[in-house]
Structures are given as C-alpha cells and as structure tokens.
C-alpha cells in the first residue's frame, strides 16, 4: 500500500470520566482531529484487558489507543494504576513476541484536555501512517 494514501484504523478505548470527556470537548470545541479513530467508551481504562487489545488488532486495527485519567485522578481511585501496570506488561510481552508494541498507545487525557486529545490522535495517526498497515495480528478466517 502506498504510504501517502494509507489511512490507518485506530481503535481508541476512552475512559468515561476523563478521556471520553476530553474527546467530547474536542468535538464541541470544533477541534479537527483525524478521522482514523473509532472511539469505544469504557467505564475505566482498566476495563481494557489484553484480550480486547488483541481482538482489536485481529479485527483490523492498525493501532490501539487506551486513554484514561491522569494518575491520581481516577474516578475509581486506582483503576488507571492497574492500566499502566498491565499495559506495560502487555507491551513488553508483545515486543518479546516480535509484535509491534508501538501500535499500542497508552495516554492520560483529562476531561479538559481537548488539545491533548487532538494532538495525541494526530501524532499517533501520522506515526501509524509511517509504519504502514499492521499485518502481524490478523484474524484471517475468511480472508481471501
């Protein structure tokens, strides 16, 4: 695929209390961010486990983004501490298995950080554009 025409698909799991609000604010503030992103609202970033991340890649995501509250701000006190622990492990396991761990992005974005949300999506999109399509984790059950 030509690099300049490649539009990566990004699945973004956004925590209900901060990052989803941040994305919402970006929208109401008419901040323009790449259309590559599909947002899935989760009650807390710690809801996202390794299975969800892998399922997203299997089903065609080129990048997966997990956005939660800043450490210390979690609505449930410790949710995002779990997130960072698990996702660090998942990233190192992915790297150890030769998978592209840089396609998994974890970011803390609060409810008033519309700009940060926009910047994150923009830089992640352009990084994935440079990397090209992901092919290492793909569900090929009905691929021709």
């Amino acid at each position: 695929m030509m690099q300049d025409t490649f539009e990566p698909k990004i699945i973004a799991f956004c925590c209900n209390w901060c990052s989803y609000a941040g994305a919402d604010l970006a929208g109401t503030g008419r901040l323009k961010y790449p259309e590559n992103i599909r947002i899935i609202r989760v009650p807390c970033s710690s809801r996202v486990d390794s299975a969800l991340v892998l399922r997203a890649f299997q089903n065609g995501a080129d990048g997966v983004m997990i956005a939660g509250c800043h450490p210390g701000d979690c609505h449930y006190d410790t949710g995002n501490y779990h997130t960072r622990k698990r996702m660090m492990l998942l990233k190192s396991l992915m790297e150890f298995m030769g998978l592209d761990e840089e396609r998994l992005l974890v970011k803390w974005i609060s409810g008033n950080e519309a700009d940060r949300f926009k910047d994150t999506v923009e830089s992640f999109t352009s990084k994935l554009k440079k990397m090209g399509a992901s092919g290492k984790v793909r569900d090929l059950r009905c691929a021709k």
């Binding site: 089903n59 569900d139 059950r141 009905c142 691929a143 021709k144």
Partner: protein, 346 residues
C-alpha cells in the same frame, strides 16, 4: 508383474520427487525444533531435508501422523460473500494430488479405519477426494519403536492400501520401490522418467509376526469392564486436555463452524475432541457426558468397543502417540493391561 524401481540413493529419490512438485504436493517426515511432522518438501530447509531419510526409514512413526493431509485440522467447504442482500456462494478448489513419502504401516491402517467411517454411505466427498488424490509411499518397519504396540493391533505387515512399498538395500544403499496400485504404477512411471531405474527384485523386510489381539474379545472384555471403579480412578488422573485425540491417527471427530466478517464469510469443519466438556454440551446447558469419567470412558470405549461393533475392527493401530504425549502417562496399555488382567482373573 508389479514394477520395482530403484533410486541410487535416498537423495536421488528426494530429488526426483522434488522434480514432480509442480504436479504433486510432496510431503515427508522431518523435524522442526526437534518435533517430528510431515511437511511439504518444498518448504524444507536443507537441514530439514537431511532428516527425511532417517525418519522415513525409521521403525517408529513421527509425532504428527499423515492424517492432516487427508482430514485437515481445518477445512473450509463453503466460502461466501453477502453484498447488498445478495449471497454469492463458492466452494473451494479441488484438492491437488499429493505424495506422502515415508508413511508408516500404522498410519496406513489408520487411514483404512477412517475410510470405514468417511467412505461409508453417505460418502464424505471432502475426504474421498483427498484419499483418491494421495499416493502413499510406505516403508515397513522391521522392528517396533519404544512406544509402539502395532503388533498387538495386527498392523505391522499391513500395507494393503500403500501405493508404493519402500525399502533400503543396505549393501548398495539403493532405495527400492514396489508399486502395488494404479496410482503407484503411475508414479513409478514418472519416477523412471526422473532418472530412477528398473530393478528386478524388491527386498522384502523381515517383519516379525505376532498374534494380534482379537477385536471381539477386547470388545467383550471392555463391555464387561464398564462398571469397574477403574474408570473413576483413571478419570481422576486425566487432566482433560486433548493431546491424545489430536495426535491420534484414527480420531475422526469434527466440529462445524461459521464465521463472517463484513461481507466475507466461510463455513468450515475443524477437528474437535471428545475430551472437551463443550463437545457434548448443548445450547440449553444440558450435557449428556457431564463428567470427566464419562469422557475418558467414551474415548476408550469408542476405540475398543463401539468401533468394533460398528466397523468390525479395533479403532486403534497401536502407534503409541497418545501414551507418549499424555502429560500424566495414560496410554492404550493402561486400559488394555487392566482389561486383560480382568479377563484372566475370571
């Protein structure tokens, strides 16, 4: 007169078969990370190719049997596209002719046992097509491997449906092939064109003959043994994995699944294992074989009793793979020794 042909060396045979790989898928036993399987020779590294002779002529089957090439672990039989409410259904291409080099007598007999199930009316066309398209080059073992029990199951000399018999002449290093079927004849002709020569004699291996178990006796002993507390003990030891069934060359159970993403979809059948609880568990939650004892018993009874009643033969060829790979050391012997003992006690 059955033609016998000879290759100067195993290397020459392998080269000749390589030449035919545009027409046939040629598979042979080799190792990968120390694990023995049949693999297409075109996909082998030089190191892997060097393993083929040893494993082909060895008196012991590789870990993986030839079954996956006739009854694949996964096989799509309907592909479809659903677009704008229109359904377009395709069936996948027909299978390609294939040569299996270095098949063992136990695996050949295991295919004959699967034939009894799949080729009985209604004939399983998916299997039949591959069976008709497969040329088996078989070498007879002249001794038994460490975990083999083929003598008990009477398969040591059984090479009935082998297309070509293979043996090595130790003095000259020649590899001799004797065709014994139409498919075998055709392949022998083709190999002659690839530089192999005609040979007047085929060296018959000296296969020791031992009296085999009588299937009806085993079946009767099994049936008498059904209520024994032995099964509960065995089930307590079994950890419920599917190793025994997935490496068994005679297991033929399968599952049928559908998958669809967006417009693309497929229906396929895949191996399944009677050791898994969800094998018999129904959508409503009812399970006619709810305990591990039921499942362990069913596996052994299927092989040693039901198969005899339905197909007239024991459903085991004594290849020893299940016992070799069982993480808790349960083998066919574990049961056979017990029912044998039980029968004698009476």
């Amino acid at each position: 007169m059955k033609p016998v042909i000879a290759a100067k060396s195993f290397e020459q045979l392998l080269k000749a078969l390589h030449q035919l790989s545009s027409k046939y898928l040629v598979v042979a036993p080799t190792t990968e990370d120390g694990v023995e399987h049949y693999r297409p020779i075109t996909q082998m590294s030089e190191e892997q190719k060097s393993q083929v002779e040893r494993l082909s002529l060895r008196n012991q089957p590789p870990l993986g049997s030839v079954k996956p090439f006739l009854f694949p672990d996964s096989e799509i039989y309907i592909e479809f596209t659903k677009k704008d409410g229109k359904l377009d259904v395709q069936t996948p291409r027909a299978s390609v002719p294939q040569i299996i080099l270095g098949a063992k007598p136990c695996d050949v007999v295991s295919l004959e046992l699967i034939d009894k199930v799949f080729l009985e009316d209604p004939v399983d066309g998916l299997y039949q097509e591959k069976r008709d398209n497969t040329v088996l080059i078989v070498n007879q073992c002249d001794e038994m491997g460490a975990n083999c029990r083929c003598d008990d199951f009477g398969v040591q000399r059984s090479t009935g449906s082998a297309d070509l018999l293979m043996s090595k002449d130790e003095s000259s290093g020649k590899i001799l092939l004797k065709a014994q079927s139409e498919k075998g004849n055709i392949l022998a002709e083709e190999l002659l064109k690839e530089g192999m020569e005609e040979n007047p004699v085929f060296r018959e291996p000296k296969v020791p003959v031992k009296e085999a178990l009588e299937s009806e006796k085993i079946q009767q002993a099994m049936d008498d043994f059904f209520e024994s507390p032995f099964w509960e003990e065995l089930a307590m030891r079994c950890i419920g994995c599917a190793t025994c069934t997935f490496y068994c060359p005679t297991c033929h159970c399968y599952d049928i699944r559908d998958f669809q993403r967006k417009e693309q979809g497929a229906r396929y059948r895949t191996w399944d294992s009677c050791m898994f609880p969800d094998y018999t568990r129904m959508a409503g939650g009812h399970n006619p074989r709810p305990t591990r004892k039921d499942r362990v018993q069913n596996r052994f009874y299927h092989k040693l009793s039901y198969f005899v009643k339905n197909e007239g033969a024991l459903g085991c060829v004594g290849c020893g793979r299940c016992g070799e790979k069982c993480p808790v050391g349960i083998s066919m012997d574990t049961v056979l020794n017990r029912i044998g003992g039980e029968v004698n006690d009476k």
